[in-house]
C-alpha cells in the first residue's frame, strides 16, 4: 500500500501543499492532474524525499524512496557527453544490475546524448530507468516530447507494468488518463481529490469549479 501524507510543504512563505493525503492499495495506473503550479511535481519530490516537507510517505512498512520507486521528471537531466549505451550501463550500475539486453525504445548506441532531440533524450532516460522493476512509478508528464509511436509503446508498457506496480502519471492529456486509468487524483488548492473511473464525468466540473 502506498500512503503519502503531506501536512505542509512551503516554498519561502508560499504554501504549496497542505493536509494532502493519497492512499493507493492496489496496483494499477493512476492519473494526477492539476493546473500549472498546483504542486504535482512537488508532490512527487516530497514523497521521494527529494524535497523537505512535513509529513510521511510509506510503501508498506518502508519509506518511499528512489530504491523502491522510479521517478521520471518532466525534463529528465542526462549527461550530454555519454552515449545511450554508456548511460544505460551507468544506471544499471546504480541499480546494481546487469545492463538490460532489450530496451523499450530503439536509439543509436554510439551517438552522444547531446546530439539527440528532446524526445530522444526522454527515450534514453526511460530506457535506463526501466531496466529495474519498481513497485511504484512516479511519471511526471511522460508523454511530453515523445512521438506518436513512442507514446503508443510507452502506454502499452505501462499498462502491462500496472498489473503488478502502482503507476502514477501526471499529465495534461486528459483523454489518455480517462481511457487507461483506474482513478485520477485532482490536485487543486493544495489538496487532492480522488475520482475513480466511474466518477470521471464529475472531474471536469470539479476542476473548473472556481469555488475552493
Amino acid at each position: 500500500m502506498l500512503k503519502i501524507e503531506i501536512k505542509s510543504k512551503t516554498y519561502s512563505n508560499d504554501i504549496v501543499l497542505k493536509n494532502l493525503e493519497l492512499e493507493i492499495t492496489e496496483p494499477g495506473l493512476y492519473g494526477l492532474i492539476g493546473k500549472n503550479g498546483q504542486g504535482k511535481t512537488t508532490l512527487f519530490k516530497c514523497a521521494l524525499g527529494l524535497e523537505k516537507y512535513e509529513g510521511k510517505s510509506y510503501l508498506g512498512k518502508e519509506k518511499v524512496s528512489l530504491i523502491n520507486t522510479a521517478f521520471c521528471p518532466a525534463e529528465p537531466i542526462l549527461y550530454d557527453e555519454l552515449t545511450t549505451e554508456e548511460f544505460n550501463k551507468f544506471y544499471a550500475k546504480l541499480f546494481m544490475l546487469e545492463p538490460s539486453k532489450d530496451y523499450l525504445f530503439d536509439l543509436p548506441k554510439d551517438k552522444l546524448i547531446k546530439q539527440f532531440s528532446t524526445g530522444m533524450k526522454k527515450k534514453t532516460y526511460l530506457n535506463a530507468l526501466f531496466q529495474k522493476d519498481f513497485l511504484v512509478y512516479f511519471l511526471d508528464e511522460p508523454f511530453n516530447g515523445l512521438d506518436i509511436e513512442a507514446n503508443y509503446i510507452l502506454l502499452n508498457y505501462l499498462k502491462e507494468k500496472s498489473k503488478t506496480s502502482i503507476i502514477i502519471i501526471s499529465s495534461h492529456i486528459i483523454d489518455v488518463l480517462y481511457k487507461n486509468c483506474k482513478g485520477i487524483y485532482m490536485l487543486k488548492n493544495n489538496k487532492t481529490t480522488y475520482f475513480n473511473h466511474l466518477e470521471f464525468d464529475q472531474l471536469e466540473i470539479a476542476f473548473f469549479n472556481n469555488q475552493s
Binding site: L50, K52, L66, I67, Y79, E81, F90, L94
Partner: protein, 301 residues
C-alpha cells in the same frame, strides 16, 4: 587594416569580449604583441618552444564552427590563410628579424596544409572506464584530456633521454592531478539515492571505480617509466597517483555542498606534501555523514 583586425578579434573572441569594446580588443592585440616581444628578447633561451605559438591557428582551425559559412566564398581557403597570418603576424616578424627563414617557410607551409586537409573528425573515443562514476567519460570528452597524454609521454621520454628524474616526477604529479579531475564533478542527488547500498558501501564502490580507472591510465605509463628508470621515489609517486584521487573522493563527499573547499583542500595537500592527510579520519566521517543525509532527507518533524 584596423577594421579587419577589429572584426577578426570580435568574431574569434566573441564569447569573451563584448562587441565594440575597443579597450578589450586593444588588450587582446597588446597581449599578442607582448608575447612576441618577450619571445624576441628571450629567443635563444626559448629555442624551439617558440614554434608552439604557431599551434594556435591549427587548434583554432580544428574547433571553429564557421567553416561551412566561409565555404560560400570560392576563395575561402585564401581568406583563412591570410587570417592565420594576421593572428601570427607578430611572431612571424620575430622569425624574420631573427633570420629564421626556414622556420618561417615551415610555419607558412603547415598553415597552408592544415587549411586544405579536412577537419579532424574527433570521433567519440570509447573509453574503457568503469561507469559507476560516469564523470571519467564526461571529463575526458569535455576537456579532451586524452590530448595531454602524448605530451606527457614525450616529456617522459625526454626525462629518460637526458637522465633527468625530475621530469618523470613532474609527469607523474601531472597525471595524479589529471586523474583527480573526475572526482571534482558532482553526481546528482537522485543518483546517490537510487543506489540501494548504504553510504559506506557507496563510498567503497567509488574507491573501487577510481582504482580501476586509474589503473587503465597509469599502468602503461608506469611500465614505460619503470622499465627505463627504476628508483624508489618514482615508485612512491606511482602510489601517490593512486592515493590522491581516493583522498579527493573523500574530500568531495566531505565538502559535497562546497566544491571550492574541496579544491582548496587538494591544493593544500599538494603544496604541503600531504600533511592534511592527518585529517582524513575526520573527513571520512564527515563524508559518510553527508552521504547519509543525502540518502535520507530528514523529515522536519
Amino acid at each position: 587594416m584596423y577594421y579587419i583586425i577589429s572584426s577578426l578579434i570580435t568574431i574569434r573572441f566573441r564569447k569573451h569580449i563584448s562587441r565594440n569594446d575597443k579597450t578589450a580588443s586593444a588588450l587582446v592585440v597588446l597581449l599578442f604583441l607582448a608575447v612576441a616581444l618577450i619571445c624576441y628578447s628571450k629567443f635563444n633561451e626559448i629555442g624551439l618552444y617558440f614554434y608552439l605559438l604557431f599551434l594556435d591557428p591549427i587548434l583554432y582551425q580544428q574547433k571553429r564552427n564557421d567553416l561551412e559559412l566561409l565555404k560560400i566564398r570560392k576563395n575561402y581557403k585564401w581568406i583563412l590563410f591570410v587570417e592565420y597570418i594576421i593572428y601570427t603576424f607578430p611572431y612571424l616578424i620575430v622569425l624574420i628579424i631573427k633570420q629564421k627563414y626556414y622556420g618561417l617557410i615551415l610555419v607558412l607551409m603547415v598553415n597552408f596544409i592544415v587549411i586544405h586537409i579536412p577537419k579532424l573528425q574527433m570521433k567519440n573515443i570509447k573509453y574503457p572506464f568503469d561507469l559507476f562514476n560516469p564523470h571519467w567519460h564526461i571529463t575526458f570528452r569535455n576537456y579532451k584530456i586524452i590530448l595531454w597524454f602524448p605530451l606527457l609521454l614525450v616529456l617522459s621520454f625526454m626525462g629518460i633521454k637526458h637522465q633527468n628524474p625530475n621530469i618523470q616526477n613532474f609527469v607523474l604529479l601531472i597525471i595524479a592531478i589529471i586523474i583527480c579531475i573526475p572526482s571534482f564533478e558532482r553526481e546528482r542527488i537522485e543518483e546517490i539515492k537510487y543506489h540501494s547500498n548504504n553510504s559506506k558501501n557507496y563510498l567503497k564502490s567509488q574507491f573501487i571505480n577510481s582504482l580501476i580507472n586509474t589503473s587503465f591510465i597509469i599502468v602503461p605509463i608506469a611500465v614505460f617509466i619503470l622499465f627505463n628508470t627504476f628508483n624508489l621515489l618514482i615508485s612512491s609517486l606511482i602510489l601517490v597517483v593512486y592515493v590522491l584521487p581516493l583522498v579527493n573522493i573523500i574530500s568531495k563527499y566531505a565538502f559535497f555542498h562546497h566544491p571550492i573547499k574541496q579544491q582548496l583542500f587538494l591544493v593544500f595537500m599538494i603544496v604541503s606534501l600531504g600533511i592534511p592527510i592527518l585529517s582524513l579520519p575526520f573527513l571520512l566521517n564527515k563524508a559518510l555523514k553527508n552521504l547519509n543525509e543525502i540518502k535520507n532527507v530528514e523529515n522536519r518533524n
